[in-house]
């Protein structure tokens, strides 16, 4: 993405928002909407975070895995005796030994009709189905000793036919799991009434096929787990870098046969997750099983090479799309045929059918058409498994929708922004039911489009683009409108039988000193969950923000809940906390009214004290409320019981998902001689409802955009025909670095959801959802003078030069 040209004609981008209420500022109420810096960031800045790998326990053992060198092979012989005798080695286990302690799983969901997958073991037995699948575990006193011993594992393999290509998989030439009958994990066909007629009557039908490479999350911290089994109480404490501690508690309990109440999952600081750390990984399950087997704590940290081989991949799709429209530019229908490959197993417990299903649900989503047909095939291959990674299906659905929309606009000679204006669902058309069945509460496509065009000076950029083309400088402008699934109800997983909670809970406690502690089931992964919970709690109770402490990520202490995924933490956990905080405030007022012998309606809580509502005069500091409530209840009326701890829960149920919307734009310069594309600038206008902390929201959008740009420009897990990963290191797999990345301008429209009092919708995935589509359209716009298009991501210089016919 590096290239020669600068930004000579672009004015400097406005700097990212700076907080208007720095940490030292004491603001009494109303933190919601303010850019308060995260209190929890300070220890991370000082190197005093506490990530799972930082943890050392007495008698800690380390497990390493012997992994299949083949994509598909039968294990003829696996002899661990010499490995087990190496210095420092404590034990060596094959799949059968682990299976005695850990039952296999099958990742299917009832609402994905017909989805199938074979049982998967923590450590493979008899057969490995992808390169990197663990087939033996070596436990040693140190990681280095374990790795030394791996060289002494004696294995003999019988290579089996390998399926790596999606079309090859779909043809069932070679069936990976013969007991399933074919290579199809899941398929879906969908068509609206009148679809054929609509396409037959259309003035124009455009068609194109798009390809998306596999990529992966590349969390900077590898997957990390320390499992500590205590035989004395048949209990298991697991320290794990995870997004969903309660889900993992349930899974460890059921598969290791330990009562759920005896399993505690603790999530310390997490070094990035993005969806990678919300799944069940066989090697992590094996680590927990080994802790039980050896009755001592065991640590497993995936190193970078293991991460590339075994962290879920995502996004391998080939999609044919057709769009039907009339000469006046009215879109009347979309037709979709998506083929996606997921590796040899559907990933537990969320399944690997969701991404394709989302593509079916979301394609064409921003537009007011009525006719839709979709076909989806999700197939098994002998490559690493794929599953839900940030924005799940959205980057595909947005990119194919927006690319075909641009192609139609081009065919009709209509400006792409104007073409969108004619087709985006009107802002006054809600509630609205989309042809795929999704229901939208309230979206703001037109407000977002208007704001974006103004923000980027669309007309000015078009004029500049035209001027520069005369000088043989090829710039392109790309737009991508989007809708996004956030705040999911139980319709996402619960209805399918998965024990994944769509509700979250918050407990708020007034401490004797007047401090407030809140415990919330949503987890902190760096996105600032704990910071916004401080803001919400301080606002709800009426205390200054420095009085609030937040605890998350511990099934032993927090209420039960779903955790962090599908852009749900602020909208669901935040609402639970708001309600808990308000209830605590009411209870504080009850107590204060009893102490002061006044009507509670004449009192309020603000700035750390109970005050006279009319005059604002401080009547009782909260420290005094705490002192009386906990130490001198004898001074209260006989029948009065202080309740200074309150718990509330929240589940969105009115809509299956609380949809958000937004639009992105990309401005690029393409060098036709080298094929390099320089990303000059990127814009995102997003509507996530109530913005709790603009600074955190904007930076999260930017990070999401950059992950989307990575997938569009650089990132791809390349496999050979034999199923060997060819670029499984950070030297070979490219991710965006600061020099590759443009300045990103972020702005908001705010349409709070009416389903909750807080009104917050999700935002964490929006950037990733829309960026690949915007940049694809920008590159194809830059290619217009050459009459060429590119349709396969990532858009490497090689692919661009091939499109230009230069190589």
């Amino acid at each position: 993405m590096n290239d020669r040209t600068g930004l000579e004609l672009l004015a400097p981008a406005p700097r990212a928002e700076k907080p208007d209420a720095p940490a030292k500022t004491r603001v009494s109420i109303g933190y919601i909407g303010q850019s308060v810096p995260r209190a929890g960031a300070r220890r991370l800045l000082q190197g005093r975070g506490s990530y799972t790998d930082d943890l050392k326990l007495p008698r800690l053992a380390h497990v390493v895995f012997f992994r299949s060198p083949y994509a598909h092979a039968r294990i003829r012989k696996l002899d661990l005796t010499i490995a087990a005798r190496q210095p420092g080695v404590l034990a060596a286990f094959d799949g059968r030994a682990i299976a005695e302690y850990c039952t296999p799983w099958v990742a299917v969901l009832a609402h994905l009709k017909g989805i199938k997958s074979p049982p998967q073991h923590a450590v493979a037995i008899e057969r490995a189905c992808w390169q990197g699948e663990a087939v033996a575990a070596i436990v040693a006193e140190s990681r280095a000793q374990g790795e030394d011993a791996l060289a002494h594992v004696e294995a003999e393999w019988e290579e089996l036919p390998v399926v790596t290509d999606m079309d090859d998989a779909l043809s069932n030439r070679s069936v990976i799991h013969p007991e399933l009958g074919d290579n199809i994990c899941f398929k879906r066909d969908f068509v609206t009434e009148g679809f054929e007629d609509a396409f037959a009557k259309a003035d124009v039908v455009v068609e194109e096929t798009y390809g998306f490479g596999r990529h992966t999350g590349v969390t900077l911290e590898g997957r990390a787990i320390v499992a500590d089994y205590n035989a004395g109480e048949h209990s298991l404490t697991v320290y794990q870098a995870t997004q969903a501690p309660h889900m993992m508690q349930d899974i460890f309990s059921r598969h290791l046969n330990i009562p759920e109440a005896n399993v505690r999952v603790i999530c310390k600081d997490v070094g990035g997750s993005y969806g990678i750390k919300v799944h069940v990984y066989p090697d992590e399950m094996a680590t927990a099983a080994i802790s039980v087997m050896l009755r001592r704590p065991v640590k497993f940290i995936a190193d970078r090479l293991e991460s590339f081989l075994t962290d879920i991949h995502a996004r391998e799709h080939k999609v044919k799309v057709r769009l039907a429209c009339m000469t006046d530019g009215r879109i009347i229908g979309f037709d979709l045929d998506d083929l996606t490959s997921i590796g040899p197993y559907s990933v537990y417990p969320r399944t690997s059918g969701i991404e394709g299903n989302q593509v079916v649900n979301l394609t064409g989503g921003p537009y007011a058409h009525k006719n839709y047909r979709a076909k989806l095939n999700v197939v098994f291959t002998n490559k690493n498994v794929t599953c839900q990674y940030r924005a799940v299906g959205h980057p595909i659905a947005v990119a194919i929708t927006e690319a075909i929309v641009d192609l139609a606009a081009q065919k009709l000679g209509i400006d792409p922004a104007e073409f969108r204006r004619r087709n985006l669902i009107p802002d006054d058309a809600y509630p609205y039911t989309f042809p795929s069945g999704l229901k939208f509460e309230q979206l703001s496509h037109h407000q977002c489009l208007d704001k974006l065009l103004e923000l980027m000076d669309y007309k000015g950029l078009r004029a500049e683009q035209k001027r520069l083309r005369e000088k043989k400088v090829y710039r392109g402008i790309g737009l991508a409108a989007m809708i996004e699934v956030t705040n999911p109800s139980p319709a996402f997983y619960g209805v399918g039988g998965a024990r994944i909670s769509a509700q979250d809970g918050a407990t708020v406690r007034l401490e004797p000193t007047g401090m407030v502690t809140c415990l919330v089931s949503v987890t902190e992964q760096g996105q600032g969950t704990e910071a916004i919970f401080q803001q919400i709690c301080a606002t709800a109770v009426g205390v200054s923000i420095d009085k609030v402490r937040v605890i998350t990520g511990d099934t032993g202490t927090t209420p039960y809940g779903g955790g962090t995924w599908a852009s749900r933490g602020a909208g669901i956990g935040g609402e639970a906390l708001l309600q808990a905080g308000k209830a605590l405030r009411a209870n504080i007022l009850e107590l204060a009214a009893a102490v002061l012998n006044v009507d509670k309606n004449a009192l309020d809580v603000s700035a750390d004290a109970v005050r006279d509502k009319a005059t604002g005069e401080a009547k009782l500091p909260l420290a005094e409320v705490g002192r009386i409530g906990y130490f001198r209840p004898d001074t209260l009326p006989l029948k009065f019981q202080a309740e200074l701890t309150v718990t509330r829960h929240y589940t969105p149920r009115e809509y299956g998902f609380t949809f958000t919307n937004g639009i992105q734009a990309s401005y690029v310069e393409l060098d036709p001689d080298t094929g390099f594309v320089k990303l000059l600038r990127h814009w995102c206008v997003e509507d996530c409802g109530t913005v709790i902390n603009p600074m955190l929201v904007d930076e999260q959008i930017r990070g999401g955009v950059v992950q989307g740009l990575g997938g569009a420009m650089l990132e791809e897990c390349l496999y050979s025909d034999e199923g060997q990963l060819l670029n499984g290191s950070l030297a070979d797999y490219l991710v965006p670095m600061s020099g590759d990345t443009p300045d990103i301008v972020v702005a908001h429209i705010s349409t709070p959801t009416r389903q909750s009092e807080l009104g917050a919708k999700g935002v964490g995935e929006a950037g990733t959802a829309g960026a690949p589509g915007a940049v694809m359209n920008a590159i194809n716009d830059a290619l217009v003078p050459f009459g060429k298009r590119v349709t396969v991501q990532p858009f490497t210089p090689e692919r661009i030069l091939k499109a230009l016919g230069k190589i």
């Binding site: 810096p37 800045l45 911290e221 990035g272 970078r304 600032g528 600074m695 930076e699």
Partner: protein
């Protein structure tokens, strides 16, 4: 691996003596032997910069250097440079602008940024992006990091001219 080497390394200003395996990397030595867990292992092949520490005043990748190579030398980590206040301007700017999310890259980012601030007091925004391109951040999108460093450089320049 029965050969060991007695190494004396000045870590954050204090000499430490340890018997180390010749194959042990500096980052593992700091994390495992000394409990200095502020520096992180992101890739162990020199690509991500999460293990960046300072050796004899210059930034180095802790995963590309052996502990024995630091024998007789001086190593500074984020813990020491926090305590002596050297990183405080950058830390404050990073905090105020939320130039971090998960924090895993942050200690390495800060050490690299501090070298830039100290050696290139006139760095432009483009030069900041270029200099920081050896440190991977997967969360932020880099813009707040670049903004924070730019601000520290501007403040430093103002101080020098005023």
């Amino acid at each position: 691996m029965d050969e060991f080497f007695d190494a004396t390394i000045t870590v954050n200003g204090k000499p430490v003596m340890r018997r180390v395996e010749p194959r042990q990397h500096l980052i593992d030595f700091l994390r495992e032997e000394l409990g200095l867990t502020g520096s992180h292992c992101g890739c162990e092949h020199g690509a991500c910069g999460a293990c960046t520490v300072r050796v004899d005043g210059e930034i180095r990748r802790g995963c590309l250097m052996l502990a024995v190579q630091a024998h007789g030398r001086s190593v500074d980590t984020v813990e020491g440079l926090t305590d002596n206040g050297e990183l405080s301007a950058l830390q404050q700017a990073f905090h105020e602008r939320n130039a971090l999310q998960c924090g895993f890259c942050t200690p390495g980012m800060l050490l690299t940024a501090q070298e830039l601030v100290a050696t290139c007091p006139d760095a432009t925004r483009e030069e900041i992006r270029e200099f920081m391109s050896g440190n991977l951040c997967r969360c932020t999108g880099y813009q707040a990091i670049v903004d924070a460093i730019e601000e520290v450089i501007a403040t430093q320049r103002k101080g020098a001219s005023g």
